[in-house]
Symmetry: C2
């Protein structure tokens, strides 16, 4: 017969357990459980003795053990691109508030726009048995989540739709927003309009490019290849793209920037230019109104995106919902000056 398994080398020192509390208070384990969880059916005197033992021992319930028995972890996961990006901070914060209202903890992680890392993170969260998963996808194939979803992990995609699986998604009207932003430039007399966006495999980038094309087509303006540049949002790449569009015999007179990272770099390029170039950016950003000229943007509400997705997730956890749905939130054009400059050159 094997010896009693020795206690694992724990970093927690030897934390007291309910058993220890029970022994000290001279009661049964279940009574301690009742007191700890505020369940009824314990006399005031017994409760006092248990409380004293808890404090003397410095006991804190081990929620890992609790989770194992109960089946729900009261936690949800959020996989996003990069917490350092000002777009995701408010989004994550909004999700956290909804989670908190439901008594759940939020675990978020950054995919760094790497599909492998997205998968690794999402599955690690599943292994920790989060009740639900919010994903801002980096990749375009999410079949790896099928067993998890089938096993009951509520899943909602945010900002970009899932790839090759049917799932809830909450996103902004990227096509319509870009279209209206570009139409705004056209209305102010521009015809040679550049588009600088994120990598084309990213859904939002592709949709915004499509919005640009639609607006140009609506106005009957043929688009030159040299006017469109998609790629990483690294400042160096964006700067070069902008400079190319702005030079040569037929430079663009206006630029539509595909996201906040791009807009900021383009603003820097334009600031060094002697002639005025119009600019509309997708995504609002702090201080956009204080620049000269103020930067006209197509704003989306990151907080609302997160809140809406988290609400949907918890309704799924409540078992209220059935079929996956696509929820599209409107964008808003905010004019501040840069988008109203007339064409020059």
């Amino acid at each position: 017969m094997p010896e009693t398994a020795r206690r694992p080398e724990s970093r927690y020192g030897n934390r007291p357990t309910m058993k220890d509390v029970a022994a000290r208070a001279g009661v049964g384990l279940k009574t301690v459980s009742r007191v700890v969880n505020g369940e009824p059916g314990v006399t005031a005197d017994t409760e006092r003795r248990v409380q004293e033992a808890i404090e003397a021992l410095g006991f804190r319930r081990n929620d890992s053990a609790r989770v194992l028995r109960k089946g729900r972890t009261a936690s949800i996961g959020l996989v996003l691109e990069d917490l350092a990006d000002p777009f995701y901070g408010p989004l994550s914060r909004a999700v956290e508030e909804v989670a908190r209202a439901h008594g759940a903890l939020l675990i978020n992680g950054s995919s760094a726009e790497d599909p492998d890392r997205e998968q690794e993170l999402a599955l690690a969260l599943c292994a920790r048995r989060v009740d639900g998963l919010l994903i801002i996808p980096a990749g375009d194939d999410h079949r790896y989540l099928e067993p998890e979803i089938r096993a009951g992990v509520a899943t909602v995609f945010v900002d970009r739709p899932a790839g090759r699986i049917d799932a809830d998604v909450v996103l902004s009207d990227n096509h319509g927003g870009a279209r209206s932003g570009v139409a705004h430039l056209i209305a102010h007399g521009h015809r040679r309009i550049g588009f600088i966006g994120d990598m084309p495999r990213i859904h939002t980038a592709a949709e915004r490019l499509r919005g640009y094309r639609t607006a140009m087509e609506d106005a009957g303006i043929p688009v030159a290849d040299a006017w469109m540049s998609l790629g990483v949002t690294d400042p160096e790449r964006v700067r070069r793209a902008a400079e190319e569009m702005l030079s040569g015999p037929d430079p663009v007179t206006a630029i539509f920037a595909g996201n906040n990272r791009v807009t900021v770099t383009v603003v820097r390029v334009l600031a060094r230019l002697s002639r005025p170039v119009a600019l509309v950016g997708f995504d609002d950003f702090e201080l956009a109104d204080l620049l000269r000229p103020g930067v006209t943007v197509v704003a989306q509400d990151a907080g609302r995106l997160g809140r809406t997705a988290a609400d949907r997730l918890f309704r799924r956890l409540d078992g209220t919902l059935v079929a996956p749905e696509r929820i599209e939130l409107p964008t808003r054009l905010i004019t501040r000056g840069s988008g109203e400059l007339p064409p020059v050159g």
Copy 2:
């Protein structure tokens, strides 16, 4: 004899367990465990059969159960003020990268600058048995953590020191940074300099005010009470504070802003003013260089703050460290124009 306890109403559906995999593969539980964990001592043929069963069943190891047995959760917690604040995004991201390098997951939560909420969050993380805790404190009494720290939860404070307990802390040189920023204004001829900061109970706010006082004292300039305003960083409060200092018979000719939230609001107030007022802000922020004038700041490195604290936490988890230490990181004055304006009025 009681019946076998029924399976709890799980939201996970009925996920397959190692036992199910073992049954399907026709092997013992331990063999499945070996395969899942990549342990040696399994023949290629057995391993293949187990892998097939895993895939057929859609098995994923339950890390909650694993954690319970092993004692370490491979996760750390980060309690910060507000994830939507651009200062904390990069800090959190830096911590995440260090955690990832150590194979740990990061759980972060916002205290919303509320001491009760900080405590609630920190203790919830302890109940989930995070291996370590990184705290940007909202409160000034952390004795509630004593039982946890004694039980082995590695704890490192970030940005602000712990209150009433002895613990590691990694912070910026708030006093020295503010002092140099104010000295810079004095060097440019200012004597009537205002200070607008966060609530005085927040350590960084108090230290930066102290730096302001030191610089003024160094220069032999007596400070008027009307020149100092501390409180919430709500735009309305800050705006009023700035406007008061800037009006009256003896208005200030320069303002030192105590953090990034304050700076942004002060910039807005100054933009509407007809006369130039000098400004130096604590904390750098995006686009500070593109404003007219560019905003001179005392910059701290949020990413480095997070990285340093996380490194320290993991060294504590390795058992390398003993006595709590205070690590102070230098700040850097970045001149961009607003801090070099001469006094007017």
